[in-house]
Symmetry: C2
Subunit: 194 residues, 2 copies
């Protein structure tokens, strides 16, 4: 029994090491192989294959873990309180979105494709959607665009900032600031100048 | 000599048939194999491999062809004349961007990855950038955001519309309308309501 628990703890440590190693590999580009990930994790290929069938499975597990981290961050940021606009600001300037998962979005696109990556975001996106809905219902945000489209644009702009930061075309802070200005500009009701 | 010309014309017809078949396959999902593309094109796998090394090569050639078609469309739409805003409207409601290449963006992400797909857009994007620059210089568009970021958002929002339309969450016309409203809202100078 005790042996079983030790074995499971060992397995969890190994899985953590493999996912951490995969993230380090993706920071250098999305073309990482199982062999490279195994080497970076300090384990053999056979060990990696003992836990993951393929690079697809590794990327899927890494995205799932990262999005679970994001959910914890959401609780810490208390996105349910204050104005919706201030909640969006807090979210976008949190460290999780930009820089922390360098290369992971690109790897997700390569190994899983846009639709599966989008589906993995469902739970986190429900939290963000709740903030947007609060802003719409409270009169802070414009309501003349369908919610589904607004969420699609939030997702697209957030990942545009990730891609620009990952490619080094924008600094992480600068990307967060521009994303915030652009997103709030899109969400808030506007009056065009004559 | 004449035989060579006939052979080359034959090869071009085969390449066209393969790319057309690949596009039909991607409309059903990005997981198409060389075998499926060959079958849809009515040729053997060996013929496909005679022209393309891999699915990556097929997707690259298909994207290159589609973007060349887009450039022809740009000339027809005369995006260099009229106001910049009207040029953006004409561009977004042209049939090329939504519906015509159903599934190709998803396939591009899977087989080439975001950075390579973005690089293939360089030439077309230079044309769109010229319209945006004209709008900024003429006072039609806001100038307080860096041009590089504005172009990244244009790219991201256009592909968000493509993804929503491809997934059937928005109709093609509706997607074009929403994209147009959102994009011009982002490009035009705004005055926030108090």
């Amino acid at each position: 029994m005790a042996e079983k628990i030790v074995k499971r703890a060992d397995a969890e440590r190994t899985i953590t090491a493999i996912l951490d190693a995969a993230l380090r590999c993706f920071a250098d580009g999305p073309e990482a192989t199982v062999t490279q990930v195994a080497k970076a994790a300090g384990v053999g290929r056979v060990t990696v294959y003992g836990h993951f069938d393929s690079m697809e499975a590794i990327v899927g597990a890494l995205l799932t873990r990262s999005l679970a981290e994001a959910e914890v961050m959401f609780d810490e940021l208390d996105v349910e309180s204050g104005t919706a606009a201030s909640a969006v600001e807090r979210l976008l300037h949190a460290p999780w979105i930009l820089g922390r998962y360098r290369g992971l979005f690109e790897a997700g696109m390569r190994y899983l494709g846009p639709q599966r990556v989008r589906a993995l975001h469902d739970q986190v996106f429900a939290r963000i959607e709740a903030v947007v809905v609060r802003g719409r219902e409270g009169g802070e945000f414009r309501t003349d665009l369908p919610l589904g489209w607004v969420m699609a644009t939030v997702y697209a702009l957030a990942h545009a900032a990730v891609v620009e930061a990952d490619a080094g075309r924008l600094g992480v802070e600068e990307a967060a600031d521009l994303l915030s200005v652009t997103l709030l500009g899109m969400l808030e009701p506007v009056q065009k100048m004559a």
